[in-house]
Every structure is written in C-alpha cells, then in structure tokens.
Subunit: 347 residues, 3 copies
C-alpha cells in the first residue's frame, strides 16, 4: 500500500475503520466530489441531503454514514463521515515528508537553536536566540526574529514573518505572507505630532492554531497578544495589539479586531466583521458577516448589523426597512385623511 | 527614435495612427495631465467634458478625439483616445527589457524547467517540477512551488508566492505580496476541536489576468479555484477556495469572495464588497461598494447595501432612512390627534 | 546606568524630567500596567480616571500627572504623562543599535548607493540607482527597486517591497509585508477586454510616516501618490493611485482609499472605512469605523454610516431603526382606527 494510492476498498476500509459494502478488491485512485467523481474515484456523501446526488454519482465507491441509503456502488460506512473524509483525503494526499536540515542558502544566525529534526528552507532567516523545535518547517524566504520560539511540528509556509520574541506553540500552521508581531498601532498626540508609543510586548500563538495568508497579528504595547489553542484565523485578518483571542475561535477572512478585545472560546466572527477596541465577545457567540461591534456580546448569542444587534432584532429591522418607502407614503395618507376628517368634524 | 522619447509629433502621430493638427517637428519629452502639463509635454483630453481644461492647458500638444475642439496647441486626433493614451504612455515609459536567465543568487531546484527566455531574480525560489515559460519574469524573492506552472510572458513582481501545483496562463501579471494557492479555510468540528480538512485542490489563473498586491487566492478543497481570462483583481482581495471567477471580471480592492462563489463574465464587485459562500453573480452584474451579498444576483443587475438589494430599491430605502426620525415624530402626532378626535367624536 | 535598566528612581526622574515623591535609591526593572505591575516595576496612571487602579496597584513606583493623588508608593510626577511614558518605555526597551553595513548575503546592484552608515539585511535586494540614506535599515528579505530613495533613519522591517522610483523621506517606519508602489488599478474597456493603463507615476512617503504590515500604497497613473508628513497608517490598508493623504493623518486598519482621494491634515479614518474615488476629506474630519463615503466631508466634521452622514444624524437614524418594527405596527393601528372613525363619522 503505497502512500498516495491507489488503494483497494479493503485497504481503505481498514484505514478508515469503515464497514465495506461491496467488492473489497476494487481499486480507487483519487477522491472527488459526487458530481465529478468517475469509476476510479471514491466520493463522499456527508448527510442524507446528499443522498440523491450520491445515487446519481459515477463514483467507484462512496464514503457515507448510515443515513445515506439506496446506493448502487460500493459504500464505505462510517459513524462520522466528515472525520473519515479528512482521513481519506490525507490517504490520497499525504503531507510531503519532512526533509530535516538547514538549507545551504538559508541564513541562521549564531546562537539560534534549530533542532536537528527541523527544516529551514532556502533564503530563510533565523535570527539570534531564536529556537525552532523538532519537526518544524521554516519555509523558504521566512523570517524568524531574534528570540522568537517555534514549538514542535510547526509549519511556516514560504515567506512568513515572525518578529522578535514571538512565541509559537506546537502544530501551528502559518500561511504565506502572514506577519506575526509587527508593532501595534499606538500613538500619543502631543499637540504637534503623533508620537509613537513603543510597542514592547509580545505575541503568543498557542498550540494547533492556523493562521491564514497575509494576516497580521500585532505585538502588545505591554503584555501579550494571544491567539488561543485551536483557533483558526483566515486570510487578511487583522488582530491588533493586546487582543486575547480564546480557544477554538474562528475568525473568517478580512475580520478586523481592534486593540484589547477579548474573544471567548468557540466564538465565530464571520467575514469582514469589525470590532472596536475593548470589545468583549462571550464564549460561543457568533457575529454574522460584515457586522460592526462596540461594547459586549453575551455568551452564546448571535449578533448582526452595523451597529450590531441580536440577529433576530436585526432581521426584523431589515424586513421593516424594505417597507420604509411604503411606510412614508402611508403616513402621508394618514395625515391627509386626518386633516380632512378634522375639518369635517370641527366642533 | 529612442525608446522613452523625446519624440516629434510626427513620430507620435505615426506610432498612434493619429491625424496631426500642428507642427510635425515639435518635440515632446513626457506625458502629463492637462492641469500640470508644460510646453514639452503631450497631454490628453478623453472626452468633450475635458474640453475647457484642454483649452486652458499649457501642454505642448494634446491627444484628443473629434469631440474636443477649439484647442490652440497642436492636436493628435484619434478615434479612440483612451486606447491611444495607453499606447502613448507605453511610448514614453517602455517596459524594462527582459534580461533572460537565472540570477546567480536565485535557487532553482533540480528538475524545475525554466525556459532560457525567462528571467528569475535574486533570492527567488523555483521548486521541483515547476515550469516557467518563455518571456516570463519571476521577480526577486518570489516563491514558485513544486509543480507550479507559469505560461509565457508572465510577470511576477518581487515577493509573490505561487504555491505548489498552481497553474498560471500567459501574460498574467501578479503584484508583490500576492499569495496564490494557500490552503482554503475548511474545518470540521468534531465536538472537541476544529479538524483541518486537507485542501488538496488547485488554483488556475487564466490568460491576461492581473492580480493586485497582497491579494490572496486560496486553493480548492478538491477541484480548482479559477480566475477567468482577462479578469482584473485589485489589492488585498480575498478569493476563497473553489470560487469560479468568470472572464473579464473586476474585483476592486478589499473585496472578499467566500467559498464556492460563482461570478459571471464581466461582473464588477466594487471595493470592500463581501460575498457569503455559494453566492452566484450573473454575467455583467454590478455590486456597489461595501455591499454584502447572500444568494444570487441575476445577470446585468446592479445591487447595493447590506443585505444587498437592487440598487434602485436600496436608494429609496436610504432616502427614506434620512426621514426616519421625522417619521417617528409624525406618527406620534397622528396618534395624539386621533386620540383627541376619538374622544371628541365618541358616540 | 546600563541601557535597558534596571534604573533607580533618581535615574528615571532625571531622564524623564520628573519630580520624585519617594525613595530615590529604589530600583525598578521594567514597565507594566497598573493591574499586573509588581514591586520591581514602574507603572503609569495617565489621568484621574486611573486613580483608583493606581491606588490598588502593586507597582514599585508610578508615573503620573498632578491629577492622580493618594498613592502610597513612590510617584514620578510629570506634566505630560503620556509623553513621559513614551520616554519611559524607550528607557527599558531601547531600540536595538544599528549595525551598519551590507550583509554578505544581501544583493546590492552596481550603481546603488548605500550610505556607509546604513544597514542592509540578509537576502535584501537593492536595485540599480537606488539610494539608502545614513542610519537607515533595510531589513532582511526587503526589496528596494530601481531608483527608489530612502532618506535617513528609515526603518524597513523584514520583507518590505519598495518598488522602482518610490521616494521615502526621513525617519519613516515601514512594517513587514507592506508594498509601496505597485501599479494602480486602472483599465480601459475597449469593447472586448480591459486594457491596462500603464501606471507610470510614483509614490512619495514623507518624513515621520509609519506604515503598517501588509498595507499597500499604489503608484500614481501619472504624478505621485502622497502620504504626508507624520501620517500613520495601520495594517492592511489600501491607498490607491493618485491619492493625496495630508499630514498627521490617521488611517486605521483595513481602511480602503480609492483613487484620487484627498485627505486633509489630521483627518482620521477609523477601521474598515471605505472611500469612493475622488472623495475629499477636510482637515481634522473624522470618519467613524466601517463607514462608506462618496463626495466630500467639510473640515472638522464627524461622519458615520453607509452611506455616511454627519454622525449626529446617523445616530438619530440608528435609534429610529430600532423602533422601525414597532413603527410599522403603530401605523397599521392608526389606519384601522381611522378606517373605523371614517365609517362612524361618515356624513
């Protein structure tokens, strides 16, 4: 069984812990969605709502839970199809193996500690006193500043900047172009000019975080800007100085989080949401796309709009807005009718 | 006639296919707008509305269509002044000549194919099995990943990232800081954590596309994220996994396109527009700046607002909103008058 | 007195021009906020509203103005506590000393002029005819294009792109990932395709400007895009071609400024604000977060909303919007009551 396939269905069933309905010797060469899969592909139906598409698919086999029935092709039955899909994709697309060592065209300063089990790519820079843990990959053209620390199995894709002193945990993934630890945006106007307030704090990225391409996470003025364990940050997001992002938080693309915000565990900020500074988002709260927030959102609530309100209220307002031109007309009519009646009934 | 000028008006007229009104021997050294052009500059009047500024200009000569009249200085008459302006600007500002070859400080992996007529700049990285076509320029500090392909006459400005397997057509321009092919933002929550869904698809950038600085185009989960032929994407735009952007589409700065959106040919998304996932934009449709979209827009329509509506409707709502505080007052008055009358006319 | 501390309070008082209330021999080792400071830290209270937190702080000493009273610990009294805080932070966190010279792994083209008192980092590229002034730092992996000029004491953090011909004044700070001088976004549709209008103008960044991570400032079509003296630009901001940003302007993160806008001195655009092209913002005007602007804002005014209006008006509209669903109901009731009365009082 060679990494990357092809695989027999028996091999896949064993690897996924699936119950196989169909020919164990059948070989498949790739994974494809139901609509485009051919006879040498395995596809996937992640719930009963995909049953019809699954029945119509040309896939050689389908990964599904018990709720997808009536399939003519072989089926790999699993309890948790989405988790099994992740494993299936990795079987056909294994991570490229780590090739440890420092590329001869990298520049690692004296006094940096790169674990022999880590890899540093061409034209990467690792400054003094930086530490790179075992199994970590510093991609081509990355910059790891003085005293920065990467844990184990960290993946910096090409051209990431980790400024001085930034701390990164284990199994963190950072995509190209991200900048971790640039100065926070802080000035004091002294009557003549904006004077820069030195930004001398740090950034801590905890375990299992993923950070998207061209995202920026600023260092704290004093103290630390934190992205908590397991949080996922999309592309082009701004996290300002001194924010505390909790665990398993989702920040979708182009979100802007101003200084000193606190975001509770498992909260979700959808695309292009903006938070003013010192906003608090409770655990598990959701802010829908493009909303603008000041103040505080209680745990578990869903908010929307600019300025944001509980989503139920926002939706009633949006519905009413559609009727606003009509409402104006109706009020004008009411005024005319009342004028008329007042004239008519004048005592 | 040396590239970059100066040029006589006769030379310019010949190069532009223009009819010259004035002294063919007059020499000009540069191009400048009407307001700042001097006697050694050629300027341009792109329509009758610029006629007054053209008449007042100190330019040595003016490029214009037939609709600009009454000019005292020499005129280069053309049918399509905007197209002629492009040619005029290129005459005075020719593209720097391609200096083919691999810079001695670039790193090109074994098994990469760089056409001898292509140029690779200092500290650029070209990984295994990547292919760079004739006439293409890989700028300084660029990264071209394993198996990525660039067609002919592609221009990667310094510090572009093209991740593994990304396909780029001919005459594509990519500006500094853009990241093509980072992982899409996809996770499955398994009750305890957000599990990363491997993003194993690709990106295809078709011919004549231009992509702005620090823009991100994510690879598909499966399949391909596509930017269609001739489309132009501004700076800091996010195109998420599995999007299909049509041909000749315009995406203005800071637009965010979520996963699996389909945008029809010649559609225009103005600045800071955001699309939810699975949105469909019909061919030629326009979404005005800062709008937020879910669902679908028919071909050729113009939409605005958050949530977006046909622009006519949105404008009526915005107009009515201005009168909303006044409306509240009027309704209170109506209620009081009606209370009064009901009391008075009580049967 | 070693740079970076520890310092006695006498040393700090002398350095800050402060009046010391307390033991001049007491030593402190760092700066920390009131809430987390310990006995070896100096903290700060920037106004009377911090008086209670200051009184409860465990700090070894506190920097404060005359308006903070009743403190048990030693106090460093100053006239302007915020300005003194800046000096205090620099005392404990001095800028790393400049180590002049060109790193042996940098690439400086023939004909570039790097002042012997400037520093160029590893894998930085400085192209022909570029000039780097005394005391300037070109970080690792930066690109300085042909004919670009940096004044004195400029700080380019790692991985900044300065395209050809861009002019940067003195004491400018540019954070990682910023791209200065990419092409403006300009095309002419000729009936078949969007034809690129060559962007042959420049960019001028004046003295004392700071530019955030992954921000983009495009070159002008013709002429110059200007960021005026002392202006501060946050991360992920877009400044389009031909904009003229005044002096001491603040552009907060993710702001988008379209082509040919003019922003007056000391204006402030808060986070995620978007300007259409050719917008004029008067001196000292403020646009609140997420607003969208067309047209013109007079000097000194505060505007909000999409489309933006004077903030007072916008706030009245937002307040009224909350009551919109209720208003609809009330108008329906009015109509029913009036119907009833008209029936009853029919002549």
């Amino acid at each position: 069984m060679a990494a990357g396939g092809p695989y027999t269905l028996a091999e896949l069933a064993a690897a996924l812990g699936a119950r196989l309905e169909g020919d164990p010797g059948l070989r498949v060469r790739g994974v494809a969605p139901l609509g485009t899969a051919g006879s040498e592909d395995v596809s996937f139906a992640l719930g009963a709502r995909h049953g019809r598409a699954a029945a119509a698919s040309g896939a050689g086999a389908i990964l599904a839970g018990d709720d997808v029935t009536g399939l003519a092709c072989p089926v790999l039955r699993v309890q948790a199809p989405q988790t099994a899909l992740i494993a299936l994709l990795r079987l056909f697309h294994p991570e490229p193996p780590l090739d440890p060592g420092i590329h001869r065209l990298a520049w690692v300063a004296e006094g940096a500690e790169v674990d022999p089990g880590a890899a540093v790519g061409p034209f990467a820079v690792v400054e003094r006193r930086a530490r790179i843990g075992r199994g970590s990959r510093v991609g081509a053209l990355c910059f790891v500043g003085e005293g920065a620390r990467l844990g184990e199995d960290v993946q910096l894709y090409p051209r990431v900047v980790v400024r001085d002193g930034v701390e990164i945990g284990n199994r963190v993934i950072v995509h190209s172009g991200a900048v971790l630890g640039a100065d926070g945006f802080g000035y004091a106007f002294d009557g003549r000019a904006h004077r820069k307030i030195p930004q001398v704090g740090g950034v801590r990225i905890e375990d299992d975080v993923e950070i998207g391409a061209n995202t920026t996470v600023d260092r704290a003025t004093l103290g630390v800007t934190v992205i908590g364990r397991g949080s996922k940050v999309d592309n082009l997001v701004q996290v300002a100085h001194n924010c505390e992002i909790g665990e398993d938080v989702i920040l979708v693309s182009q979100v802007g989080v101003s200084g000193s915000c606190r975001i509770g565990n498992r909260a979700v900020l959808a695309g292009q949401v903006g938070l003013a500074d010192h906003v608090t988002i409770g655990a598990g709260a959701i802010v829908t796309a493009k909303s603008g927030l000041t103040g505080e959102i209680p745990a578990g609530e869903v908010w929307s709009g600019i300025p944001a309100r509980p989503t139920g209220e926002a939706k009633r307002i949006w519905a009413a807005q559609r009727r606003l031109p009509d409402l104006l007309r109706r009020v004008r009519e009411l005024e005319a009718r009342l004028d008329e009646m007042e004239k008519r009934t004048k005592p």
